[in-house]
């Protein structure tokens, strides 16, 4: 990060970024707690450690842009504007959830913010993102589709098929690869013959950059540059964010595949910790303001939990609703 970029950092914007990262962090810490309390069941994949990416990226988008995400998408949904209450209610399985309790943690959807899930199949969202971008292009809309996936998806055929198609048809999609180094428990170097992901993307004739995913300002700059260029007809762009997941893959993961020293090394680069330190150093935040932000976040998380707790169970008689649009079971 250049000192110039920091000098131009607006105080309000800095607070916004920190606030958003803390929203995701505290929300997910609460999720982990609620999982232990068996309020949340199924798979729960936490984003803790990777918050700078969703936060840096979402702020750049326009309301009509589209987002496709993965099963580790609580943060993306939250920062995109899906309410914490409806996300939490979804994880509770309540009908007030953003997917009416049909999806759970892995399948958050929201039509208001054009948030197209929440995909549980690694690589499965990329073709959909290509199609969303194709529709926008065919209908002459200046929207951009932001497509998130992990580095594990790079090994899937759908990754290569989708990048090729997006480039071939010059579609307005920005591919955001969140490289947290492990596909569940398989380290990148154990699964890819060439671990340079950006170079694979570049081979499909699209600009591809590697970005420090632990630095929210670097993320924001890169996404802005890519989204602006894509919106102006520059075709697809690819961003590889180097990041790390601090928690286990899911709540069932005993983490046998990585050592504590490695986790500690990355925890030192915690995007929230480092950004807070930077803001203090630059005198862009005071302790009182930090406390205020934390209080705001705590209140929001508390309200989300209360909303979920107060939610209701959908009657079983509605089980076959939404299999077909007309409500028929066929």
């Amino acid at each position: 990060m250049t000192s110039e970029r920091i000098q131009h950092l607006d105080r309000d914007h800095a607070h916004y970024l920190l606030h958003q990262m803390l929203r995701v962090r505290r929300f997910e810490e609460k999720c982990a707690e609620l999982y232990q309390a068996t309020k949340i069941r199924g798979f729960l994949h936490l984003y803790i450690g990777e918050e700078a990416i969703a936060v840096g990226a979402m702020g750049v988008l326009e309301p009509d842009d589209a987002v496709v995400a993965t099963y580790r998408e609580h943060g993306h949904a939250l920062v995109r504007g899906v309410s914490g209450g409806s996300i939490m209610a979804e994880m509770y399985g309540k009908q007030e959830g953003c997917s009416r309790g049909r999806g759970g943690s892995m399948h958050l959807f929201d039509s208001e913010t054009r948030f197209y899930g929440g995909n549980g199949i690694v690589g499965g969202g990329l073709p959909i993102a290509v199609g969303l971008a194709l529709a926008d292009k065919l209908q002459n809309r200046r929207n951009v589709t932001l497509c998130f996936f992990g580095e594990g998806a790079v090994a899937e055929g759908e990754f290569h098929e989708s990048l090729n198609l997006a480039s071939l048809w010059d579609l307005p999609v920005v591919f955001c690869c969140e490289n947290n180094l492990y596909a569940m428990g398989t380290a990148l170097e154990r699964s890819e013959s060439d671990t340079n992901i950006a170079i694979k993307a570049a081979s499909y004739e699209m600009p591809a950059w590697t970005v420090d995913g632990m630095n929210v300002l670097a993320v924001e700059d890169a996404v802005r540059k890519a989204v602006d260029a894509t919106r102006q007809g520059g075709g697809p762009h690819f961003l590889e964010f180097r990041t790390y997941r601090f928690r286990a893959h899911s709540m069932f993961d005993p983490e046998l595949y990585r050592d504590k020293a490695e986790v500690a090394f990355w925890r030192d680069r915690d995007p929230i910790k480092t950004f807070t330190e930077l803001l203090k150093e630059q005198e862009l935040i005071e302790d009182g303001e930090l406390v205020q932000i934390e209080e705001m976040v705590a209140a929001e998380v508390e309200a989300a939990v209360a909303f979920a707790e107060g939610g209701t169970w959908e009657p079983v008689s509605e089980l076959t609703r939404f299999v077909y649009s007309d409500g028929s079971g066929l």
């Binding site: 589209a66 959807f109 499965g124 199609g131 065919l138 055929g157 098929e161 299999v323 028929s328 079971g329």
Partner: protein
């Protein structure tokens, strides 16, 4: 006095093409994409001439990336388009099965009703052209297993012409299976032929002694068998299912309650297939109406072989259908 419609001669292939042409003219949201649908004119020449008429934006040749272009069809449908995706043959659709099952069929439900997928996927199906075990299977019954999609099997020129538009107007994903042997089928069709039902089975031949239940590429053979049975004095009623999901059991049951006997003819495999589903429903809903066990003529349980005589032996044929029907009737062979 209503004026009788002017009839014109056409083929199944031309009927599918005319249906696509009409849809492309009527609705700007409609576009066609798939392998070789444009410059080549379609693997089975179904889309011949459409590229020249509608241009490359709406008649899109794709790379050989079934998963990506079927998924792109889903994405485009989610964002307001009405895509027709052509998959060359049903065996290739397996490369896109992730998108069809995990996304197209599930997103409406998984999103709590927020996102529907108005997508049409057309593909060729069936044996009979000596294309061996990777181009000849009939997996439409398999697809009918999946809640969230609709499965159509047009067997006549009218249905080839008339099923596409209602499929495109359906808010949910529709798979259309075109038996490749039917593309050259000739028939007469009203000059102004329009949409047909995509919910109902139909009686193609009336009879009172036995109900022959079939669809797609086996309809012609079954009608032929009905003619032969007539010579023996057996009145066979032939039902064309037309859609495998939803299954119109009302039409099937009405016929079976009249004839009290049923034979299912299905080019799919027997084990766990659509014929097994129909049999079960007959047992569940018409057990006491049956005068004989339900019988089936299906494909043999083998990958479809190349050699002509072996391929013919692997799939339902008229003599097999006739013999099976006579057996149900209690005729000694």
């Amino acid at each position: 006095m209503p004026v009788a419609p002017t009839l014109v001669k056409t083929t199944y292939r031309e009927a599918v093409r005319a249906a696509m042409q009409e849809a492309l003219e009527r609705d700007d949201r409609v576009f066609l994409m798939g392998e070789d649908v444009g410059a080549y004119g379609g693997c089975y020449a179904v889309s011949l001439g459409l590229l020249e008429e509608f241009g490359p934006e709406r008649i899109r040749d794709t790379p050989l990336s079934e998963s990506a272009f079927v998924g792109a069809g889903i994405g485009a449908a989610l964002a307001g388009m009405r895509p027709i995706v052509e998959v060359m043959t049903v065996n290739f659709s397996l490369l896109a099965l992730d998108q069809i099952l995990n996304n197209a069929a599930t997103i409406l439900h998984m999103s709590g009703g927020q996102f529907n997928v108005p997508l049409v996927i057309r593909m060729a199906t069936g044996a009979g052209r000596q294309l061996a075990a990777q181009h000849s299977h009939s997996l439409e019954g398999w697809y009918a297993h999946i809640p969230g999609i609709r499965v159509l099997t047009p067997a006549t020129v009218e249905d080839a012409r008339g099923m596409l538009w209602p499929a495109l107007m359906d808010p949910d994903p529709v798979l259309i299976f075109e038996n490749a042997l039917l593309y050259n089928l000739e028939g007469e069709i009203a000059e102004d032929a329009g949409p047909v039902s995509i919910d109902q089975a139909i009686v193609r031949h009336s009879g009172t002694d036995i109900t022959l239940i079939t669809y797609g590429g086996s309809l012609g053979k079954t009608l032929q068998a009905a003619k032969e049975l007539q010579r023996d004095g057996i009145g066979a009623e032939v039902i064309d299912l037309r859609t495998l999901r939803p299954l119109d059991m009302g039409t099937v049951l009405a016929s079976v309650r009249k004839t009290n006997r049923a034979l299912i003819v299905d080019e799919g495999w027997r084990s766990g297939g659509i014929s097994a589903e129909i049999t079960t429903r007959l047992v569940e809903e018409a057990f006491y109406d049956l005068d004989a066990p339900v019988a089936r003529v299906c494909s043999e349980e083998v990958p479809i072989p190349y050699a002509k005589h072996m391929e013919e032996a692997a799939i339902p044929q008229v003599p097999k259908i006739v013999a099976a029907a006579r057996e149900v009737m209690g005729f000694d062979e």
